[in-house]
Structures are given as structure tokens and as C-alpha cells.
């Protein structure tokens, strides 16, 4: 039976890309009154067939996470985000060359033959000053206005 390993990875040093996105949203797109902060994470999802998922997750993290600058968290057959922000997952809907490369590297070069599939996404963590229903609407708007280009990306608000 296949299992899904989710690996959340974020920078522990300042994230300049998140800062630029925050600046653009506040200074150029007028979200200053409701948006408090923007952070960013990466999300790798591995579908594996057999093997101890926690052991596998440890090995994958060793390959994909640079502990000098990044932190990570592992979930097996689950994925959770904290309550204080709206997580917006952005991924390519066209062929994701990076995800394919990671899958092939794990399978062929590193010998993890039980890796069936790898998905790769960015999760934007939008911290709002307003309450949830309003924040969800604003998060959709922000995703469509800035975070995605609909011709290559799709997004999903990860609800709790």
C-alpha cells in the first residue's frame, strides 16, 4: 500500500523573496490595511510504495534540505499548518521538470526504488489582520493577482 510523505521546508535565515512579495502586496496592490506579513515554505510530497516512511522521510530530508539555512517538518499521510495564517499552495499545472528530476534522482541515482511520485510546491503563508472568512477571500484575490500565472500555475487554499 502506498503512503504519502509530506516534507515542509522553510528558510531559517531571512527570506528575501517573501519580503519582496510582501512589499509588492502592500505598496503596489493596496493590501496594507489587512495584510500583516508574508512567509514562504516549500512542500515536497513523495508517494512511496513500501519501506518505513519515517526512515525514508529522514533520508529524503538529508538530500533535499540544507540544515545550515533551512528547517523542516515531516508528516506521513497527513499535512498540517498552523492556525495563524492562510496557507496558499502554488504548484505548476504544466509538466514540472524539477519534480521529475527529484523523482529520477531519488529513484535512479540514490536507489530509492520505492518512490512512485514526487510533487513540488510553494506554500505562501499569508498573515492577515482580519478574521478568517474575509482573509480567505483576500487570499484568493492575492493568489490570482500576484502569486500565480494561470497559464502555468494553479493554487489551492489549504484549509484546516
Amino acid at each position: 500500500m502506498s503512503q504519502k510523505i509530506n516534507l515542509r521546508v522553510w528558510l531559517k535565515i531571512p527570506d528575501a523573496e517573501a519580503a519582496t512579495v510582501k512589499n509588492t502586496l502592500i505598496r503596489r496592490l493596496g493590501y496594507g490595511s489587512i495584510l500583516a506579513d508574508v512567509k514562504k515554505e516549500r512542500l515536497f510530497s513523495f508517494e512511496v510504495d513500501g519501506g518505513d516512511p519515517l526512515e525514508l522521510a529522514k533520508s529524503f530530508a538529508k538530500e533535499l534540505v540544507n540544515e545550515n539555512k533551512e528547517s523542516h517538518k515531516v508528516y506521513v499521510d497527513a499535512l498540517e499548518y498552523e492556525e495563524d495564517y492562510v496557507p496558499v499552495k502554488v504548484a505548476l499545472h504544466i509538466e514540472d521538470g524539477e519534480a521529475i528530476s527529484i523523482r529520477e534522482r531519488l529513484r535512479r541515482r540514490l536507489g530509492f526504488s520505492n518512490v512512485v511520485d514526487v510533487e513540488n510546491a510553494t506554500v505562501w503563508k499569508l498573515y492577515f489582520k482580519t478574521l478568517r472568512p474575509e482573509a480567505q477571500i483576500a487570499a484568493r484575490e492575492i493568489a490570482e493577482k500576484l502569486l500565480i500565472n494561470p497559464h502555468k500555475d494553479s493554487y489551492e487554499i489549504l484549509s484546516h
Binding site: 523573496e17 519582496t20 509588492t24 504544466i94 509538466e95 528530476s101 500565472n149 494561470p150 497559464h151 502555468k152
Partner: protein, 271 residues
């Protein structure tokens, strides 16, 4: 005849682009992104040069496209002035909705019409490479002369050897029928080809996986042109690679010069 070469934080081809502008006899200056956007109206033409505006954060061109100068540039485009986006400039024009510039997609609350996605090089059905790539490529001019501002003086079928250097030049669109429309309107200006001008939709000829090997497109009126290759890096013959015999004749013009000469001619004819 005064050209504004726009500079964003992270742009890195503005100076050689300005040299090219001046070398064909146009006047020009570097226009910083945070200058009063209204001052753009005193210029006769605009070039968005290559580089990595805002370090390609989020997506190439996505952040620069939200700057006030781009809103002002839309007004200038509406007046029919020539705008050429090179490499990152093309990405910015696409993200700002100026290319392909269909009126439906230009309204501020509307979505854009295409994306320049991450390069994916495919050969014989397999991904052989992805990501940033730089090389000398051959381009075939697909539109008739006088169709676009940046290829105004270039005949249909002409071949140009010009370098590319980018990580996100893979033109994709989810808009149904858009590619057909671009083809029918002669809005596909350049395609990647081999040295004899044959279009081979595979790496290494199609260098980035772009739909139908498209390297450059223009808007419907033809004044706004976006191209991934860098004509300013092939402006003089001495810039050509060592194995090209033309390199030994340094006084000759390089193939990229024709793009800048076209822009000049376009402004002269419009005046």
C-alpha cells in the same frame, strides 16, 4: 528621436542596450524604475532590457510588472510608440499583459494571456535538461517586413544568429486558440531554427521547450515586441563567437543591429 532604456533593480543589460541604441543614431537614456512615471511620455520609444529584475523573485518579471512605470508604459503603447522587451523585458511585458496585449486581457482586473515558464528541454520525448541555459541560436523571421517595430526592416524568412541566456523562456498558454490567432495575424515574429532555417521543435534547436519554437511575438498593432534572444549581444561582428568567420571582420555590423535599426526606421516612418 529619444529612447528610454528602462532599468529595474536587477536589470543587467541596460548599458550595452543603450550603446546599441546610440550606435544606430538614436538618442537615449537609462530610465530608472522609480523615476516619475509620467516623464515616459517625453520619449519616442522604449526598451525593457534583459537581466533579472527583482532577482526573478516569485516569477521572472512578475514583480516589475506591478510597478507604476508599467502602467505608464501601457498608455504609451496605446499611442503606438515602439516598445521592445528583450529577455527579462519580454517576461515583464507578458506579466503586465502588454503582450500579446489582447484588449480583453489588458483590463486591470483581468488575467493575462500567457506565461514564460521554466525551460524544459525535450529531445525524442525525454527531458534532457531544464533550467537556465545560454547559447547562440538561430532565429527565423516569421512576420513580413514592417509588421513589428523591432523587425520593421527585416524581410520574412531572414535568419539571425543571436545569443539567448535565460531560465524562463518557455512560452505556454492556456488561452484556447491563442497560438492559432498569433500565427494567423503574423504576431509570431521569430522562431528558433537550425542554421539553415528549418524549424525543429526539439532541443537543441528549440532551446527552451517553447510552444511551436516561438522566440518572439508582437501585439496586434505591432508596436510592442517581446523577444527572448539578446540582439544587443550580437550588435557588432566582434561579439560573435570565435568559430564564426564574421568575427574576423570587426567593422561589420552584427546580426542584432537590425533590430535596433528597425526600431529607428519604425519611428521615422511613423513620424
Amino acid at each position: 528621436m529619444k529612447i528610454a532604456v528602462l532599468q529595474f533593480p536587477g536589470t543587467n543589460c541596460e548599458f550595452e542596450t543603450l550603446v546599441a541604441v546610440k550606435a544606430v543614431g538614436m538618442d537615449g537614456e537609462i530610465f530608472r524604475w522609480n523615476r516619475e512615471a509620467g516623464e515616459l511620455s517625453s520619449f519616442d520609444g522604449f526598451i525593457l532590457p534583459g537581466g533579472f529584475s527583482y532577482q526573478d523573485r516569485l516569477r521572472a518579471g512578475a514583480i516589475a510588472a506591478k510597478e507604476p512605470v508599467l502602467a505608464a508604459l501601457k498608455d504609451e503603447a496605446g499611442k503606438g510608440k515602439p516598445i521592445i522587451g528583450i529577455c527579462n523585458g519580454f517576461q515583464i511585458l507578458v506579466e503586465a499583459g502588454l503582450l500579446p496585449g489582447r484588449p480583453e486581457a489588458c483590463a486591470p482586473d483581468k488575467s493575462i494571456d500567457m506565461a514564460l515558464a521554466q525551460n524544459v528541454m525535450v529531445s525524442k520525448g525525454k527531458i534532457v535538461r531544464r533550467g537556465y541555459y545560454c547559447d547562440w541560436v538561430h532565429l527565423r523571421h516569421e512576420a513580413p517586413a514592417r509588421r513589428s517595430s523591432g523587425s520593421f526592416a527585416i524581410e520574412r524568412g531572414a535568419l539571425l544568429k543571436i545569443p539567448i541566456a535565460h531560465g524562463e523562456g518557455n512560452l505556454v498558454t492556456a488561452t484556447p486558440g491563442l497560438i492559432k490567432e498569433l500565427n494567423e495575424n503574423d504576431q509570431v515574429v521569430f522562431r528558433y531554427c537550425d542554421k539553415n532555417g528549418r524549424i525543429i521543435d526539439e532541443f537543441p534547436y528549440n532551446v527552451n521547450g517553447s510552444t511551436e519554437s516561438i522566440a518572439a511575438i508582437c501585439n496586434e498593432p505591432g508596436n510592442v515586441l517581446g523577444m527572448m534572444p539578446h540582439p544587443e549581444r550580437a550588435f557588432f561582428a566582434w561579439q560573435l563567437p570565435a568559430f564564426d568567420p564574421r568575427k574576423q571582420r570587426p567593422d561589420e555590423p552584427g546580426p542584432g543591429r537590425r533590430v535596433f535599426e528597425s526600431m529607428k526606421r519604425y519611428i521615422e516612418v511613423r513620424a
